[in-house]
C-alpha cells in the first residue's frame, strides 16, 4: 500500500499531464493483449471491445442486477445491511483510493472487484461480506463436507455478464435464504464456513474455463464411477538371506526365451498402440469446441492455503461442484485478486501459463499487492528506502493519513451470523433434489426421507456420450428398515447386487441374483459374526449349493451339495414337501489343532447315490501325502444268512503312518456308524439351508414391497410414536391445568366483592356470606332443573303437534314425508328421553352438590374460624 502510494505521489504531477495520453496508451495496450489471445476477432469486434473497455473508468462495476428482480424482502434486514458505519465508510474511501492508484499504476488491467452493492444497494467491501462461522454440524468441520454442502445447497445462477464480476454481492444469509447465487455468492459462503472451521481460505476473483464457469460436468468423469486405484502391492522381494537355497539350475535355452519375450513385446506394443489410437479417437470426438471467450470468463472460487488444519498443500475448491483442484489445474486461467475477512490482495504475477506458475506467498509484496497494512502475513520491505528521498514533502502532507492507515483494521463483518437450520441441512438440495450430468453418467440426489423407499442417490452410467444406453444403475438408500444400502443393477449381465448394512434380520450382507426365483444362480453373503452358524457365503446354481463358513467350533469351512433331478411325485406337492434329492455332499474342515493331523478330517464326501463315504485327513506337518479312508455302506448277508456287520473290504484306507488301532474292525465299525449319523445331519442341514434360502427370498420380497423406513428415536420430528406420546402428554397436562383452574374457582368471590374491600370479616358477615352463597347455589340448581323441565315440555309439545299433524294428513302423505316424520319422531323421542334422564339425574345430584358446597364453605379458610364457632 505504501509502496503504491509513494509511487503514485511521485507520478501524480506527471499523471495530470498525461491524462490524455494515458487513454491512448490504454487503447494501444489493450488491443495488443486481446489480439494475442483471440486472433480470430475481426477488426470491428476489436474496436467494439476497445470502446467497451475504455468506458470502464471507475472500478465500481455497473451492470444490471439480475437477482434483484426477485423480490428480496429488504425491510426485515438488520441495520448493518442498510447503512455503513463510519469505519466502513472510511474503509470504502481507502478502497477507492487504492483502486485509483491501482488503475493508475496498472492501467492495462481490469478494475478491481472491491465494494459491490449488497441487497440493500449499499456498497460493502468484499472482505466484510465474509463472515467466518463454524457450523454446529460435524459434517461441516472439514473442507470437503463444507464444499459439498455449499454445492448441494445452492442453485447456480449464471453471472449477469460472464466477462465481468457482478455488481452486487449479497450477504450469505440472504443467499442461504434464497438457496441460489452466482459463483461469488457460492465462494463467499464457502469461504466464511472454511474460515470458521479454521482453514486458511480465500475468495479468488479470476478467470475460469467455460466448463468451470457454467458448471458443465458433462466432460468430467463422475467421481463416484472412478474406481479407487488398486494399490498395487509391490511384493517386497525378501532380501535373499544368507542361507537361502539356490534355485535349481535352469536348463532351458536363453535364446529361445529371448525370442519369445521379443515376440510378446511386439504383440503387446501393437495392442497398446491400437488401444491408444482408439482412445485418442474417442477423446477427439469428445473434445469440446474451442471457446471463443477462453480466458475472459470471470469466475470466483476458493483458495485454501497450506499450513492451517494440517493442509499439506495449497489447493483450489470450485464452489459449484465442491471439488478440489490442484493449484496447477487447467481449468483455472488466471487470478486478479483474492481476499479473506482480513485483507485484500492483488495478483501482480503474470498469468500467461494459467495459474501454474503462481506463487501463493501473500507476504511477498512484489507478487501480491496488499491493501491493508498490519496483516498477519510476513512482509518484505525493501523498496521503501529507495523512494524516501524523493517524497519528502509529500510525506508531511500524508503523514496523518498514513499512520491512520497503518493502524487500520478491517471492520468486522456486516453480515448477520450464518445459520443453517437442521431441516435445511438435512434437505440439503433445494427441494431436496438435485441432478448432475457427468460424462456418460447421471447422478441424482435426494434428501433422506423424501422418497418413501429411502432412495437418496442414484447413479446411472451410460455406454455412449449421448446417454441413451444404460450400462448400469447404482442406487443408494438410507434409513431403510431392511438395512439395504446400495442396489447395483448391471444392465449388460442382468445381475442385481444388493448390499446391506449390518443389522438385517438374516444377517445378509450382499445378495447377487438375476431373478428372485429359488433354485437359480445366486450368491448371498452374510455377516458371519451375526450368525450362529458362521456362514459367510452361499452360492447357488440350479444344480449345486456351496456354503462357506468361518469360526465354527466343528471347524467346518466349506460344504458343497450336488442335487439330482427332482423325482416327480404323483401327488402334486409343493417344493417344500418334495425337495431335490442330494447326490453328493462335500464338506471340508479346517485344521483342528487339538487333534493329531491324521485323525483330523480335512474333507469328507458323502456319495449318497453310491452309498460311499470318502474321508481325507489333514496332512501332517512334514509330510506331503495325507491319509485317506473310504467306506462302502453295503449291508450284505453272508452264506449263513447272518447280516455281515463289518468286513475289512468295506473300508479301504491309506495311512501315511500306519497305526495299529485303526486296523481293528471295531474302530472302523464305530467310525462308519458315526459317519452315517453325520451324513444324516449333513443332509438335514443342507435341507435347512434350502429352506433358509426360500425364507430369505420371501422376506426380501416382503421388505421390497413394504420398504418401511427406520426413524431414529432421537428424531423428534419424524417419529410418529413419540409425537403421539408427546401430544398425549401435553393434552394430559392441559387437562390437569384446567382442572386446577376449576379447583381454584372462588365461590365466594362475587359475594365478597359486595363487601367493602380491605376490611376484616365479622362473624355476622361471614354467616351472612355463607347463607347467601348457599341460597344462590340453591337457586342455580332450581333454575337448572326448571330449564331442563322447560325444554322437556317444549319437546313434548312439539312431538304432540307433529303426531297430530300426522294423524290428520296420514292418507295424503307421500312415502318420503312419512319417512321424514318417522325419523323425526324417533329423534324427538330420543331427545325427550335424554332430557328426562338429565332431569332425574339432576334431581338426584342436586342435594348432594348442595351439601358438598356447604361442606366446602365450612372449610373455607376465610370463613372457617367464624363458622366453626357457630358450629
Amino acid at each position: 500500500m505504501e509502496v503504491l502510494r509513494e509511487k503514485v505521489e511521485e507520478e501524480e504531477a506527471a499523471e495530470r499531464e498525461e491524462a490524455a495520453e494515458r487513454a491512448e496508451r490504454m487503447e494501444k495496450t489493450r488491443p495488443v493483449e486481446v489480439q494475442k489471445e483471440e486472433t480470430i476477432l475481426t477488426q470491428e469486434m476489436l474496436r467494439d471491445l476497445e470502446k467497451k473497455l475504455s468506458e470502464i473508468k471507475i472500478p465500481i462495476p455497473a451492470g444490471t442486477p439480475v437477482i434483484t428482480e426477485d423480490t428480496i424482502d429488504v425491510s426485515n434486514l438488520p441495520l448493518s445491511y442498510k447503512t455503513n458505519t463510519p469505519k466502513e465508510e472510511h474503509l470504502l474511501q481507502v478502497a477507492d483510493n487504492f483502486s485509483r492508484q491501482y488503475s493508475h499504476l496498472c492501467p492495462d488491467r481490469v478494475p478491481l472487484f472491491l465494494h459491490p452493492l449488497n441487497e440493500c444497494e449499499v456498497p460493502k467491501f468484499v472482505s466484510t461480506t465474509i463472515r467466518p462461522t463454524l457450523m454446529p454440524y460435524p459434517d461441516l468441520y472439514n473442507w470437503d463436507g463444507c464444499a459439498n454442502f455449499v454445492s448441494d445447497f445452492l442453485t447456480k445462477v449464471p453471472l449477469p455478464d460472464p466477462l465481468k464480476p457482478p455488481s452486487h454481492l449479497y450477504s450469505s444469509t440472504t443467499v442461504l435464504k434464497q438457496q441460489k447465487g452466482n459463483c461469488f455468492d457460492f465462494s463467499t459462503l464457502l469461504c466464511s464456513m472454511l474460515l470458521g472451521a479454521g482453514y486458511d481460505a480465500y475468495c479468488v476473483n479470476g478467470y475460469g474455463s467455460q466448463a468451470l464457469c457454467n458448471m458443465d460436468l458433462t466432460r468430467e468423469v463422475c467421481p463416484l464411477t472412478v474406481k479407487p486405484k488398486e494399490t498395487v502391492k509391490t511384493k517386497e522381494k525378501a532380501q535373499p538371506k544368507k542361507y537361502t537355497i539356490k534355485p535349481p539350475r535352469d536348463l532351458t535355452s536363453r535364446f529361445e526365451q529371448q525370442q519369445e519375450i521379443k515376440k510378446q513385446k511386439e504383440a503387446k506394443a501393437q495392442k497398446e498402440k491400437q488401444q491408444r489410437e482408439e482412445e485418442e479417437r474417442l477423446l477427439e470426438a469428445e473434445k469440446a469446441k474451442p471457446d471463443p471467450l477462453h480466458g475472459l470468463r470471470v469466475h470466483c472460487w476458493v483458495l485454501v492455503l497450506s499450513g492451517k488444519r494440517e493442509v499439506p498443500e495449497s489447493f483450489f475448491i470450485d464452489p459449484f461442484t465442491g471439488r478440489s483442484y490442484s493449484s496447477q489445474d487447467d481449468h483455472f486461467l488466471g487470478i486478479e485478486s483474492l481476499w479473506n475477512h482480513r485483507n485484500y490482495w492483488i495478483n501482480m504475477q503474470d498469468c500467461w501459463n494459467c495459474c501454474k506458475d503462481l506463487v501463493f506467498d501473500l507476504g511477498d509484496p512484489v507478487r501480491w499487492e496488499y491493501m491493508l497494512l498490519g496483516t498477519d502475513k510476513p512482509q518484505l520491505s525493501l523498496m521503501e528506502e529507495e523512494d524516501e528521498g524523493l517524497n519528502d514533502d509529500d510525506d508531511i502532507e500524508d503523514l496523518g493519513k498514513e499512520t491512520e492507515d497503518k493502524s487500520f483494521d478491517m471492520p468486522s463483518s456486516w453480515v448477520e451470523q450464518i445459520t443453517i437450520s437442521p431441516e435445511a441441512f438435512e434437505t440439503r438440495c433445494p427441494n431436496g433434489k438435485k441432478v448432475l450430468q457427468y460424462r456418460r453418467a447421471r447422478l441424482e440426489k435426494w434428501a433422506p426421507y423424501l422418497n418413501s423407499n429411502g432412495l437418496v442417490c442414484r447413479l446411472t452410467t451410460y455406454e455412449d456420450l449421448e446417454c441413451t444406453k444404460i450400462l448400469e444403475v447404482k442406487e443408494w438408500y438410507q434409513n431403510r428398515e431392511d438395512t439395504l444400502e446400495l442396489k447395483h443393477i448391471n444392465n449388460s449381465s442382468g445381475l442385481h447386487t444388493d448390499y446391506f448394512r449390518p443389522g438385517h434380520p438374516q444377517a445378509l450382507r450382499v445378495h447377487v441374483y438375476k431373478t428372485m426365483q429359488p433354485e437359480n444362480d445366486r450368491i448371498m453373503e452374510f455377516y458371519e459374526t451375526a450368525r450362529v452358524d458362521g456362514l459367510i457365503k452361499r452360492e447357488e446354481t440350479p444344480r449345486t449349493m456351496t456354503e462357506y463358513y468361518q469360526g465354527r467350533p466343528d471347524f467346518l469351512s466349506y460344504r458343497h451339495i450336488n442335487f439330482g433331478p427332482r423325482v416327480k411325485k404323483l401327488t402334486s406337492a409343493s417344493t417344500e414337501s418334495n425337495p431335490r434329492p442330494m447326490t453328493k455332499i462335500t464338506e471340508r474342515f479346517s485344521r483342528n489343532p487339538a487333534k493329531p493331523a491324521d485323525e483330523d478330517v480335512a474333507e469328507r464326501v458323502f456319495l449318497i447315490a453310491d452309498e460311499r463315504i470318502q474321508l481325507r485327513y489333514h496332512c501332517r506337518d512334514d509330510y506331503i501325502t495325507a491319509s485317506k479312508r473310504e467306506f462302502l455302506q453295503r449291508s450284505e448277508v453272508d452264506s449263513k444268512g447272518n447280516k455281515i456287520i463289518m468286513t475289512s473290504d468295506m473300508c479301504i484306507s491309506f495311512e501315511v503312518e500306519p497305526m495299529e488301532h485303526t486296523k481293528k474292525l471295531l474302530y472302523q465299525y464305530e467310525t462308519m456308524m458315526h459317519l452315517k449319523n453325520e451324513e444324516k445331519l449333513s443332509k438335514h442341514q443342507a435341507w435347512e439351508s434350502e429352506l433358509e434360502v426360500l425364507e430369505i427370498l420371501k422376506l426380501r420380497e416382503e421388505e421390497e414391497e413394504a420398504h418401511t423406513l427406520n426413524i431414529s428415536i432421537y428424531d423428534t420430528k419424524r417419529n410418529e410414536k413419540s409425537k403421539e406420546y408427546r401430544e398425549a402428554m401435553e393434552r394430559v397436562m392441559h387437562e390437569e391445568h384446567l382442572r386446577q383452574v376449576e379447583a381454584q374457582l372462588d365461590y365466594l368471590a362475587p359475594f365478597l366483592a359486595q363487601l367493602p374491600p380491605g376490611e376484616k370479616l365479622t362473624r355476622m358477615q361471614a354467616v351472612h356470606l355463607k347463607d347467601e352463597c348457599l341460597s344462590d347455589f340453591k337457586q342455580r340448581l332450581i333454575d337448572k332443573a326448571n330449564l331442563i323441565q322447560a325444554r322437556f315440555e317444549k319437546e313434548n309439545q312439539e312431538l304432540q303437534k307433529q303426531q297430530q299433524w300426522y294423524q290428520e294428513n296420514q292418507v295424503t302423505l307421500t312415502p318420503e314425508d312419512e319417512d321424514l316424520y318417522l325419523s323425526y319422531c324417533s329423534q324427538a323421542m330420543f331427545r325427550i328421553r335424554i332430557l328426562e334422564q338429565r332431569l332425574n339425574r339432576h334431581k338426584e345430584l342436586a342435594p348432594l352438590k348442595y351439601l358438598a358446597l356447604e361442606e366446602k364453605l365450612y372449610k373455607d379458610p376465610r370463613l372457617a374460624e367464624f363458622l366453626k364457632v357457630l358450629a
Binding site: 538371506k241 544368507k242 542361507y243 537361502t244 537355497i245 539356490k246 535349481p248 496332512c619 512334514d622 509330510y623 506331503i624 501325502t625 456287520i645 463289518m646 479301504i652 491309506f654 501315511v656 488301532h661 481293528k664 474292525l665 471295531l666 465299525y669 464305530e670 456308524m673
Partner: protein, 528 residues
C-alpha cells in the same frame, strides 16, 4: 463311618480279592461296546490299552494291581471295596476321573504321576491329613467327606490348587469347628461349591472380612516365596545362558579368586610389603580382561545364534516350499486319477480297460518321478547350504577361540609380570632380611620362605605355576566345549537332513505303492 463299616461288613463274608487278569477281562468285556459293535469286539478282543473307562466297584478288592496296561484309561471307579493303600496306579497317566470312595484308605499316596487328574473322590475313608497331592495341578473336584480330617491347616494346603472349584469335607471332625465354613471360604476364594452347596457371594465377602489379616499375611508370604523362586530361576537361567556362550563365571573375579584359592604360597606372600597393593592392581587388570572375554563371548554367542537361526529358517523355508510343491503335484494328480478310476469302472470293454489301466500306471510312474526329482533337488540344495553353514560356523568358532586365546595370553602376561615383580620384591626382602634391615615383623610361616634364595624362588615359582595352570585349564575347558558343541551341531544337522530325506523317500514310495495296489485291485476286480 458307621455306614461304611456296615458296608464293609457285608463284604467281610466274601474273601478279599486282588485285582487280577480275569477280573479285568470280565469287567472290560462287560463294560465294552454292546450289540453289533460288541460282536465285533468279541471277535477281535479288546486290548487293555485301548480301554478308556473301567468300573470295578463292589468287588471286595483289597489290593490294586495289574492295572499297568491301561495306558489310556481316563476314568477309573474303584469305589466300595476294601482297599487300604493307593498303589499300582502309576501308569495311568491319562486318568481324569478317579473314584476311591468307600474304602479303607488311611493315607493319600501314590497319586504323583496322575497329573491329568481333575476329579478325585476319597469319600468315606480313614484319611486324617490332606497330603501328597502337589502334582495334581488340574484338580477341580475333591471329595474328602466322611474322613478323619481334624486340622484346619489342611485347608491351607489346598490353596495351591488354582483350579479347585468343588470341595466336600462334610462328616469330618473339622466341620465341628465353629467357623469351619468361614475359614474355608476365606482361604479358598476360588471355591464355588462346598459340601454340595454353592457358596454365595455374601458369605464370601463376610469370610474375607473376617480373615482379612491372616489371609493378607498368608498372601504376602506366598508372594515372597514366589518372588524368591523366580529370582533363583532367573539366576539359573542366566548362568545357563552364559554357559551356552562358554564364558560362565568370567564376569567377575571368579577366575582370579580360584587362582588364589589353592595357592598357599601366594596368599602368604601377599602380606609382604607392597605386594598387597601390587595384588590389588593385578586383580583389577585381570578382572578387566576377564570381563572383556565375557563380553566378547556373549557377543559371539549372539552372532552364532543369529547365524543358526537364519540357517534353520532358510532350511525350513526351502523344505516348506518343496512340500507345497509336492502337495500341489499330488493334488493335481489325484484329481485326474479319480476321474480315470471312475472312467475305468464304468468302461465295459476289456481292451479299453487295459489301455486305460496302462495309462494310469504311467501316470503313477510319472508322479513318482516328479516327486523323486523334487526331493533330489532339495537334497542337493540343502547339502550345499549345509556345507556353507558348516564352513561359516567353524570359521566363527575358530575366530572366537583365537581371540579368546589372545586375551588369555594377556592374562598370562599379566601373571608373568606380576610374578617377576613378586620375585623382585621377594628377593629384595630376602636381601633386607639377610642384611637385617627389615623394619616390619613378618609372620613366622612367611619367614620360613626367606630361609634362602632357592626356597623363596621356589615358593614364588609354585604360586606362579599354579596360576598359569588355572588359566590354562579355563582356556582348555572353553576350547574343548565350544569345539564339541560345534561338532555336535554340524553332526546333528547332517543327521537330521538324512533322516528327513529317508522319511520323504519312504513316504513317496508308500504312496506310490498304495496307488499301484489300488490299481491292481481294480484290475483284479475287473478280471473277475
Amino acid at each position: 463311618m458307621l455306614s461304611s463299616g456296615k458296608m464293609n461288613r457285608i463284604y467281610d463274608s466274601v474273601e478279599p480279592r486282588v485285582i487280577d487278569d480275569d477280573m479285568l477281562k470280565l469287567a472290560v468285556g462287560e463294560q465294552g461296546p454292546q450289540e453289533e459293535a460288541g460282536q465285533l469286539a468279541k471277535q477281535e478282543g479288546i486290548l487293555f490299552k485301548d480301554v478308556l473307562s473301567l468300573q470295578l466297584d463292589f468287588q471286595n478288592i483289597l489290593r490294586i494291581d495289574n492295572l499297568w496296561q491301561f495306558e489310556s484309561l481316563q476314568k477309573l471307579q474303584l469305589d466300595n471295596n476294601i482297599i487300604e493303600r493307593i498303589e499300582g496306579l502309576e501308569n495311568l497317566t491319562q486318568l481324569v476321573w478317579l473314584d476311591l470312595s468307600f474304602n479303607n484308605i488311611k493315607v493319600i499316596e501314590g497319586l504323583d504321576t496322575l497329573v491329568n487328574l481333575e476329579d478325585l473322590s476319597l469319600f468315606n475313608n480313614r484319611i486324617s491329613k490332606i497330603d501328597s497331592l502337589d502334582t495334581l495341578v488340574k484338580l477341580q473336584v475333591l471329595s474328602l467327606g466322611n474322613n478323619q480330617i481334624d486340622n484346619m491347616m489342611n485347608i491351607i494346603y489346598l490353596r495351591q490348587f488354582k483350579c479347585l472349584r468343588t470341595l466336600s469335607l462334610s462328616g469330618n471332625p473339622i466341620t465341628q469347628a465353629e467357623d469351619y465354613k468361614m475359614f474355608i471360604c476365606a482361604h479358598l476364594p476360588d471355591l464355588m461349591y462346598l459340601d454340595f452347596r454353592r457358596i454365595d457371594d455374601h458369605m464370601k465377602d463376610l469370610a474375607e472380612m473376617k480373615y482379612q489379616y491372616t489371609i493378607d499375611e498368608l498372601k504376602h508370604r506366598e508372594h515372597l516365596r514366589q518372588a524368591q523362586l523366580q529370582e533363583e530361576q532367573a539366576q539359573i537361567m542366566k548362568l545357563e545362558e552364559y554357559k551356552m556362550a562358554f564364558v560362565e563365571n568370567l564376569n567377575g573375579s571368579f577366575l582370579f579368586d580360584s587362582m588364589y584359592a589353592e595357592d598357599m604360597e601366594g596368599n602368604k606372600l601377599s602380606c609382604l610389603p607392597i605386594v598387597g597393593e601390587l595384588l590389588e592392581v593385578y586383580k583389577d587388570k585381570f578382572v578387566i580382561i576377564c570381563l572383556n572375554i565375557f563380553e566378547y563371548g556373549l557377543k559371539q554367542h549372539e552372532k552364532r545364534k543369529l547365524e543358526l537361526d537364519t540357517f534353520t529358517e532358510c532350511v525350513q523355508e526351502a523344505i516348506q516350499e518343496n512340500q507345497e510343491q509336492g502337495k500341489l503335484r499330488i493334488a493335481r494328480f489325484e484329481e485326474k486319477h479319480l476321474l480315470n478310476l471312475s472312467a475305468i469302472r464304468e468302461e465295459s470293454e476289456l481292451l479299453a480297460i487295459e489301455k486305460k489301466i496302462v495309462e494310469c500306471s504311467e501316470d503313477i510312474t510319472e508322479l513318482f518321478n516328479v516327486l523323486m526329482t523334487l526331493e533330489l533337488q532339495l537334497v542337493e540344495q540343502l547339502e550345499e547350504t549345509i556345507n556353507m553353514f558348516e564352513r561359516n560356523i567353524t570359521d566363527m568358532v575358530g575366530l572366537f577361540i583365537e581371540n579368546v586365546q589372545s586375551l588369555m595370553a594377556q592374562c598370562r602376561e599379566l601373571e608373568n609380570h606380576h610374578h617377576e615383580k613378586l620375585l623382585e620384591i621377594s628377593i629384595g626382602t630376602l636381601e633386607k632380611i639377610i642384611k637385617g634391615e627389615l623394619d616390619e615383623e613378618l609372620p613366622d610361616d612367611v619367614r620360613t620362605f626367606f630361609a634362602d634364595k632357592d626356597t623363596i624362588v621356589n615358593a614364588v615359582g609354585a604360586s606362579h605355576d599354579m596360576h598359569l595352570l588355572k588359566i590354562d585349564n579355563r582356556e582348555d575347558e572353553l576350547v574343548t566345549r565350544i569345539n564339541s558343541w560345534c561338532t555336535h551341531l554340524v553332526d546333528k544337522i547332517h543327521k537330521d537332513e538324512v533322516m528327513r530325506n529317508r522319511k520323504r523317500v519312504k513316504e513317496i514310495n508308500q504312496y506310490i505303492d498304495h496307488l499301484q495296489s489300488e490299481l491292481d485291485n481294480l484290475e483284479c476286480g475287473d478280471m473277475d
